[in-house]
């Protein structure tokens, strides 16, 4: 079991560009949550997907959007990138929306120049 996998591991973009990050959940999991972790901070909840729908959302602008596919994998899209979007983006999976035990991926390190 490979656990939660994220791609790419690192990404460099310039301001104004758009980016797509990808996540495959742990085998048997059907719920994916995305977190943003700025340097020196704890993870901050972006949104959660279950049954291909966004179920919960944190305090992030509409520039942040997502998608979940029938195979439970998920994408995080960020439009009109800002310097402040530079962070580690973590994907976490769980079963049936439950957040009692999240399994995290290694993250995608996004740098916006």
């Amino acid at each position: 079991d490979a656990g939660v996998t994220q791609s790419p591991t690192h990404l460099i973009k310039t301001r104004g560009q758009q980016v797509t990050l990808r996540c495959s959940p742990k085998s048997g999991h059907d719920t994916v949550s995305w977190y943003q972790q700025a340097l020196g901070q704890g993870p901050q909840f972006i949104f959660q997907y279950y049954e291909e729908e966004e179920r919960q959302r944190g305090n992030f602008p509409d520039r942040f959007s997502g998608h979940q596919f029938p195979n439970y994998s998920s994408e995080l899209n960020v439009n009109a990138l800002l310097l402040g979007d530079s962070a580690l983006y973590l994907c976490a999976s769980s079963l049936k929306l439950a957040n009692e035990k999240l399994f995290f991926g290694s993250g995608t390190q996004l740098s916006v120049l």
Binding site: G42, Q56, L97, F103
Partner: protein
Amino acid sequence: AQRVTQPEKLLSVFKGAPVELKCNYSYSGSPELFWYVQYSRQRLQLLLRHISRESIKGFTADLNKGETSFHLKKPFAQEEDSAMYYCALRTGSGNTGKLIFGQGTTLQVKP
């Protein structure tokens, strides 16, 4: 406001010394608290949750609603305990609420 505060960015102790990682929360509802840990070059993973009242790797944490705290304790620190520790609060009803993380505390256990 819903918030988790970990007042110490770094806690440095010697092997065999007691450890207490502090966590305070702010939440008007019924809180559910967790401790997550990230060892060097590993992924963030769940250490323990208050509802289980369990001891994992010698660590325990008791929810104190009066003081709105959920401090993580271990009587005798080991070098392998060196890691980043995050306290997290689950908000919302049932088990589906989002997690709010603190800023994290780096525990350094010296030989």
